[in-house]
Symmetry: C2
Subunit: 352 residues, 2 copies
């Protein structure tokens, strides 16, 4: 499990919304043919009241499909204060979101602590459920109604996660998330992950989001109607205090480790060290057919200058930092996908 071996859930999943395809006319018919239980009208009426789903008449095939999706997903069209299924609630005077999340058995590694991939998944999930509760969520992955009308989707431009303590299997977490403005056309989203029992802070995260046009894949200004949707939710609070984000150097072929897959940090280092911080700066989309290359270099900061480098004699000291680059192998030149910086500390022995 190297720093880049997790899915990059933010960027890639934003582009999986298959808009413009024909609606699936056969699905509801299929459900009926198989003799499975159909919707109970009274239950649907109840849901439409509870969840603010706008149900009009169900006439055409397309409406039937939209209706079926609405009933199955129950995306609210009005702001909800509490969601018992997602164990979520609106906090921070009506604009923040808190969700209770139990670390599941398949979200931990061999040492029973949540994997970095799981932590990033929790961030994505609570962010989307925040939008879900807001009543702003359209059919896409986090896009608002106004964004859908303007054919816009979110992409993450920067993601920073600091892990103080890893939650363990079965641990009950409280995850808070909230949003703020970022420059003229961006949005900041922050998170705080704590123990529900003790209040211990597990992790903090902050991210920056911009909008791209779903067809052209080019950056977009924030349209006024989208600003009107989002800005009432913006607050100033920051999960990670930083004066100005640290720049990440661009690596070149002089990097110590250059691999044709995603994993550049050696297993022997990963076995003895635990990720304590990661910063990712996304520069470009990549597709499933792109050939990628991963570069990685120990960061020459004060801690390291006196040692033999990260994988030499200083294996047992910390913290350590690496600089990363994931790029598309291309001609005439390679194209940056994401720059990264990871910080590591010595892993404690496994619990018994």
């Amino acid at each position: 499990m190297a720093s880049f071996s997790h899915k990059l859930p933010f960027c890639t999943q934003c582009s999986t919304n298959q808009s413009g395809q024909k609606p699936n006319k056969h699905k509801l018919q299929c459900l009926k043919i198989n003799g499975t239980k159909s919707f109970s009208p009274s239950k649907v009426d109840l849901l439409s009241q509870d969840h603010g789903i706008a149900i009009t008449s169900v006439d055409t095939d397309e409406n039937v499909h939209v209706f079926e999706q609405q009933v199955r997903q129950q995306i609210p069209t009005k702001k909800q204060l509490v969601d018992p299924y997602r164990q979520g609630m609106i906090i921070e005077e009506g604009v923040g979101y808190r969700q209770t999340v139990v670390v599941r058995s398949y979200e931990v590694g061999p040492d029973k602590t949540a994997t970095i991939e799981s932590l990033l998944n929790f961030l994505q999930e609570t962010a989307l459920n925040h939008v879900w509760m807001s009543g702003l969520l359209s059919d896409g992955f986090g896009a608002t109604h106004g964004m859908m009308r303007n054919n816009l989707i979110w992409v993450v431009s920067r993601m920073q996660l600091q892990v103080d303590h890893y939650p363990i299997w079965g641990e009950v977490m409280e995850i808070d998330t909230w949003v703020g403005s970022s420059g003229k056309n961006g949005m900041r989203r922050d998170w705080l992950l704590r123990s529900q029992v003790t209040g211990l802070v597990f992790a903090r995260a902050t991210s920056t989001w911009v909008m791209i046009n779903q067809q052209t894949r080019r950056l977009s200004k924030m349209p006024d109607e989208v600003r009107a949707e989002l800005s009432p939710w913006f607050i100033q609070k920051q999960a990670i205090e930083e004066e100005s984000p640290e720049k990440i150097d661009k690596l070149d072929n002089n990097a110590r480790y250059v691999h044709s897959d995603l994993k550049t940090i050696p297993d022997e280092f990963l076995e003895k060290h635990q990720l304590s911080g990661i910063v990712l700066e996304y520069r470009r989309e990549c597709g499933s057919s792109d050939m990628v290359q991963s570069l990685c270099d120990p960061q020459e900061d004060g801690m390291l200058k006196s040692g033999n480098g990260l994988l030499g004699g200083s294996l047992n000291q910390g913290p350590f930092s690496y600089t990363h680059l994931l790029q598309i192998k291309g001609k005439p030149k390679n194209e940056e996908i994401v720059r990264g910086k990871t910080t590591w500390k010595k892993r404690l022995p496994f619990p018994p």
Copy 2:
């Protein structure tokens, strides 16, 4: 996402319980040094009452560690009827378990339906939470107190999953699971996955479990004290009705597809087809250093005999079946890890 590309969460995670290592003495100290919020005694007292945690005096470092794990995980030592965090409850006259599970954003594929890996994860999670609620769970992955005393862990010997409909992102599921006897020394575990809103059955699953000694890795009889723990929970109900489990043929090098990684079904088939059933028969453990080979052959049943085989002219018909074998490449002979059979149906077009 081929049939074997998912983690095999049952078998592999059972063997990750690192028993016998020294307890982590530094962890609690570390929490204190960092000045983070410590446990509130009144909250802990409350928890110990609510969850039936046996809290004795906290004196030695080891006891402190055990105490810390108990407070963090809150594994009940008495049977619980309801768990609000896991959204679970005991059903079926006190022996079955039902959990409400919302399909999360990172558990679905590009078509917004839950992946097969996610479905298998849901099975593992609800099974473990069932044991959790029972008050029988020791520190391991699903092992009871009696199993721990006898140094035994669970391994899955057979797993069968039938998917009628894939749940979609945001869908609220009700997952029921229960256990029964299987032969003299085994246990059957079944699941039923339904829509919480409509009652529609998404999937059914059944599995067979046996015990191995954690050190010797050899099959074990079920000790009387373990039978006494488990048998009060056994019921006869079966999620999948079958007279006698179908035998899966062992493939050899004449199989149509032989690959040195885990994925043998071609992408072009996966894009147009959806898994509707999978049976896995586990034969042997494999380790992280083993070289594995995956074999796959279209099943010559009635449907296929008249066609050109699966990837020929009959791509648009269904259902289709494949036989699978995952083996360790070894000398003088290869060793079977798991035999499998998968059944597929044509994938419906993506929803809009």
